[in-house]
């Protein structure tokens, strides 16, 4: 839920990166962390297992700049992708203002994408949200790998509405900021509606 503090002139919004296990959600956040000036971002907190799989969530606050005299801060979260961490995923969606679905473009991960997207819709519904009305971006990640599904085919299968579709290689940073921009823009546009 967007939090507007008139005393400190700040707007705070929450964006959640969702998607199947190993699709690159944490890699998206790591790239943003590494490419942003230290004064514009806080720490990157990763609650991960010993093998670097996200256990609960990753979190990073990011300050983008000023709109109408208000500092805009985005709180970026990822969810754990592995199927059995569903209870954690539900909790992290609480108060969400915008969602990025990170899809793994590899052929063998198509079923995992579909399952995770279905899980997102279900968990949003459980929290009283409707994906069709929420700021939302579909990121097609790992476009550099050999065994990938063509963009049109992936979009036809995974696109839910008129959401922006961004091709990405999160490990090199390609498409990462375009994705963030696309979702942040929708979140701020929602504010305009009041």
């Amino acid at each position: 839920m967007t939090f507007i503090n008139y005393a400190s002139r700040e707007i705070n919004c929450k964006i959640v990166y969702y998607g199947p296990g190993l699709c690159g959600k944490t890699t998206n956040l790591q790239h943003i962390f590494e490419s942003t000036a230290p004064q514009a971002r806080g720490k990157l907190i990763s609650l991960a297992t010993e093998t670097d799989r996200t256990l609960f969530f990753d979190f990073m606050p990011l300050e983008l700049g000023t709109v109408r005299g208000f500092k805009t801060r985005f709180h970026l979260y990822t969810v754990p992708g592995q199927v059995f961490y569903d209870a954690s995923r539900k909790l992290i969606l609480k108060g969400v203002d915008g969602v990025v679905f990170v899809a793994d473009s590899q052929e063998e991960r198509m079923d995992a994408n579909v399952e995770s997207l279905y899980n997102l819709e279900e968990n949003l519904q459980a929290q009283g949200y409707d994906l069709m009305k929420l700021p939302y971006v579909l990121q097609l990640n790992k476009r550099d790998l050999p065994n990938i599904i063509p963009v049109e085919e992936l979009a036809a299968e995974l696109r839910r509405k008129e959401e922006p579709v961004v091709e990405a290689v999160a490990s090199t940073g390609a498409g990462v900021f375009d994705t963030l921009k696309a979702v942040a823009k929708q979140v701020l546009t929602e504010l305009r509606k009041g």
């Binding site: 839920m1 967007t2 939090f3 507007i4 503090n5 008139y6 005393a7 400190s8 705070n12 929450k14 806080g42 720490k43 907190i45 609650l47 609960f56 969530f57 979190f59 606050p61 983008l64 700049g65 709109v67 109408r68 005299g69 208000f70 805009t72 709180h75 209870a87 954690s88 539900k90 909790l91 992290i92 609480k94 108060g95 969400v96 203002d97 915008g98 949200y129 409707d130 009305k133 929420l134 700021p135 900021f177 921009k181 942040a184 823009k185 979140v187 701020l188 546009t189 929602e190 504010l191 305009r192 009041g194």
Partner: protein, 156 residues
Amino acid sequence: MADTPLLLREKQYHQIKAVLARLRMDSAARVVFLVDKDGQEIAAQGEIGNLDTTSLASLAAGNVAATGGMAQLIGEKEFPTLSHEGERESIHISVIGRLLLIVVFDERSSLGLVKLRSRQVSHQLSMMVDEISKAEFDDEEPFGEITDEDIDSLFQ
């Protein structure tokens, strides 16, 4: 559809800060802060120094959400208070409706005192928060006039 934004006006902010300042003094705490259940920091008072209150707010909210999930699994609605005691520093969290009151304290205070003082201000904070929750956008809001150019300028 996202939730309605939470609007905190300047007057309310200072009222909350005043309550937190008193609680900090009465409980001999290091830092006292108020956080939304979604992890957004609302106000903080005390020896903040280099303490990363943004991360602490997010982790406290995650902590309360996780223990709340456990509570429901065993048939409880939620656990209204959580305490973590360290060798030197400790944290006490009270759930007040949609807010979390977090008190960080050391050997200058005690868990009993912090619990007592937190409970004493809970009702007052809860009433303040009810008022904030009812706030709505009015005609003077600056956001109705945000243009596409304003938004684009953030990414240049």
